[in-house]
Amino acid sequence: MALALAILVLLPLGWLAATSLTTDNAPRELTFRHYHQLFVDRSFLEPFWVTLWTSVAVGLLCVAFAAPMAWLVSRTDLPAKRLLRMMILASFATPPFLGAFAWVLLGGPNAGLVNHWYYWITGFKPFEAESLVNIFSAWGIVFVTALYTFPYVFTFVATSLDHIPSDLEEASAILGAPAWRTAIDVTLPLALPALLAGFLVAFLQSMTLFGPAAILALPASIDTMTTRIWSLFQFPPKLGLAAAASLPLLLITVVLLRAQARIMGRRGFSVLGGKSTGQRLLRLGVWKPVALLPFAFVLSCSVLLPYGVLAWTAFVKNYSAPAAGNFTFDNWKFVFLEFSQTRLALTNTFLLGVSAATAGTLLATTIGYLSLRKLVWGHRWLSFLATAPVAIPGIVLAVGLFLAYTHAPLVLYGTLTIIFLAYLTKEMPVGYQQVASSLKSVHPELEDASRIFGATRLRALVDVTAPLIRNGVIATWMFIFIGSIRELSATILLFTARTKTVSVTMFDLRESNDWGPIAVLSLTMLAITFAMILAINFFNDRRVT
């Protein structure tokens, strides 16, 4: 088990390191040429710089919005909190590349609907006046990436605010500080670690995301590190360079994740002590509508407008034309009846989702059980290996897998197996954490009780542990499933014609601007995702306590 896990994680990384240091063609020799090129070639330095500054911008933007918004949700009597949280969950569930597709339709400088409205309202004419937004720009990438990274940061900050003991703030209030002073003098410093950690999360997300960059950057003639690595895979692939370009991403991720763990302290932030019940909520009064503004803005941009434009585009001939006479079912007909890739892609996606979810859940459960109950020697390593892939960006993982499995003895390139391995590795940390948290909630004495009454370890597992973690395991399965069916950044390097997935198919359709079919597939993917989320909630609600 440990061995299999070690191979799964370490083999690709080993190949990555080795390939980056050897010449591409036989005879293979040790060389630093690839690294050298990284540092002198403008076609690497520029994307690196773009990636760096856009990621910093995404981080800052996310924090700038998340901090006050989290504070509003956690400390004031903001109306419709449930709805707002639900919508933020919806933006969580939206694959960023879908958001990028939608924003092409919304924010194309001249045909984008947002700009259409802008011209219509102002009376300006396209091409004559500057457009309101130009999504095909580095700032466009920053904007879209920030929209879909925001929910991570928001949840992060909101959770930590919820755990700051309210008596600390009350102490300030009782000394006569007005609410805003308390917020700045007490709450802000206490939430600072969470804000910093949130920034790092956003930075990492932005640095390693492939979808938005690829969809928005090319028309603007910009490259980021991920699109650059991707372009190195065009035939003939420049593997040494790709490996060398991947390692900095890996390194930065590892370092920043460690920094984040340190900032958040060893306890994590779930148990901060203090009492936080009876939180006194600040009355917003007449300021309520104003307080809702940032939510309206962010959620419109991340959920309402994108879903709206996708729904519109799915049912019209030309998304930028007026409604009259534009309505059609052709896109649906095309996708589900004519397009011969639909069935293949749906089948592949479904197969991959089900197998990655099933194998991932089984593996995560077994590892979680063994390591949390300390049943085997080296259980610490097991849990480390299971969580380690968190630090491997999807595209880097794909480069590693590509390198590892295009060679004898294991030639997996061109099979679904290699994509399956990518998903399995990528989703393992999430799965493990899910299962571990539900295993932790099962007190070991519950199992002991079963043993002492005459049950073997296996029987105890079946009678007690299994039913108690069942819901958690089902939720894990669905999480991995959702994560797998939307995967793009690793798949993009590993797929072949026979092993296409829905996400890659959409990506191909974009090459020829076939927005109608893209919208149809987007809606399909969203529908599946939300069905799963509803199911997870259903199971969680029925959780026995």
Partner: protein, 343 residues
């Protein structure tokens, strides 16, 4: 040990049987094709056109399914090569708009020698003398504009007009690293106007798309006003859809782009592949390409529809795959340096 030998022999026999049709065959065997049950077609033609042809074939041969893998010419080329290198046999029939691909594949022995029915009647310029590939369709790499945005008196006449500052931020162009048509067209432009021209064009803040099927959609949606290069057939499709666009045949000449079809020598469905190639060159499909696909056909007997400017009245820059082949990497590289993307 003995059984082991037997197995090896059987495998050999099977392999030889599979290789047999590739060796010599001049007529598609329908029964064998139906037994294979499937044909995989990698194509760079517009996805809806491709799927319509595939559907037609399924109707004609209900026992054979067609899997269409559509992508840009250069992407198709990369995938074919990547898969070939990794020993993946998936593609049966291929079509790209970059004739140099076929020269390369033929040299590498990746193509099957097969002359589909009717191809022997095509003009010699449009087929491989040894019978490995033939021009299945042709298009012109045209300019175009959005009639809502560009008033009639402002319509550019050719490439040079596009350097006017008034077009800054209003142009869209496909990428030669991605699109065979754009590669051919861009090569033709460099031959006629030189790299100098492209360098100036790159200062015009051009929207860089990938496929020449995408640029017509961009001006149709009004995202950009004028397209530097795009498929003539996509323009016709847009015009049929009543989109507000018109074609421009540049005064400097319009690049002609041949788009051949070939069968792979290691096709997993060799019989179905040949049957499908026959079908692709049939009068019916060719007429469909012209009528519905907006393409040009080199197969004798196919008629241009009403109102389409006949080829004879357009100043055409013929494509020159043999001449372009040595420059392909250079074009892509230089172009990317100017316009970004696909380095």
């Amino acid at each position: 040990m003995k059984t082991h030998w037997k197995m090896t022999l059987t495998a050999l026999a099977v392999a030889m049987a599979a290789a047999a049709p590739a060796a010599a065959q001049d007529k598609a065997d329908v029964a064998a094709a139906e037994k294979e049950g499937k044909v995989v077609w990698y194509a760079s033609v517009d996805v809806k056109v491709a799927e319509a042809i595939a559907e037609d074939f399924r109707k004609a041969h209900p026992k054979i399914d067609v899997e269409v893998e559509r992508s840009g010419s250069e992407r198709v080329y990369q995938r074919v090569n990547q898969e070939h290198q990794s020993g993946i046999k998936h593609a049966d029939v291929v079509n790209t708009s970059d004739s140099t691909h076929f020269i390369t594949w033929k040299k590498k022995g990746m193509l099957a020698k097969y002359v589909p029915a009717g191809v022997d009647k095509i003009d010699k310029d449009y087929r491989d003398p040894e019978g490995y590939y033939a021009t299945w369709r042709a298009t012109l790499c045209v300019m175009g504009y959005n009639t809502n945005i560009v008033p009639p008196n402002q319509v550019p006449k050719g490439y040079k007009d596009l350097l006017d500052p008034k077009w800054k931020g209003k142009l869209t162009k496909a990428h030669p690293s991605y699109s065979g048509t754009s590669l051919t067209g861009t090569y033709a432009i460099t031959k006629v106007l030189g790299w100098d021209y492209l360098e100036k064009l790159s200062k015009q803040n051009v929207q860089q798309l990938q496929s020449t099927t995408a640029t017509p959609k961009s001006i149709a949606s009004g995202e950009r006003a004028v397209m530097v290069d795009g498929n003539e057939y996509n323009m016709f499709i847009e015009i049929n859809k009543k989109s507000p666009v018109k074609v421009i045949y540049p005064v400097e000449g319009t690049p002609f782009v041949s788009s051949p079809v070939a069968v792979f020598s290691d096709a997993p469905h060799p019989h179905a592949a040949r049957l499908f190639a026959d079908f692709l060159f049939s009068q019916k499909v060719q007429q469909y390409l012209v009528d519905k696909g907006g393409l040009r056909s080199v197969v004798p007997g196919v008629k241009d529809p009403e109102g389409r400017t006949p080829l004879s009245q357009i100043k055409v820059i013929p494509d020159d795959p043999e001449g372009m082949l040595p420059h392909v990497e250079e074009i892509k590289k230089k172009y990317a340096a100017l316009f970004g993307g696909g380095k």
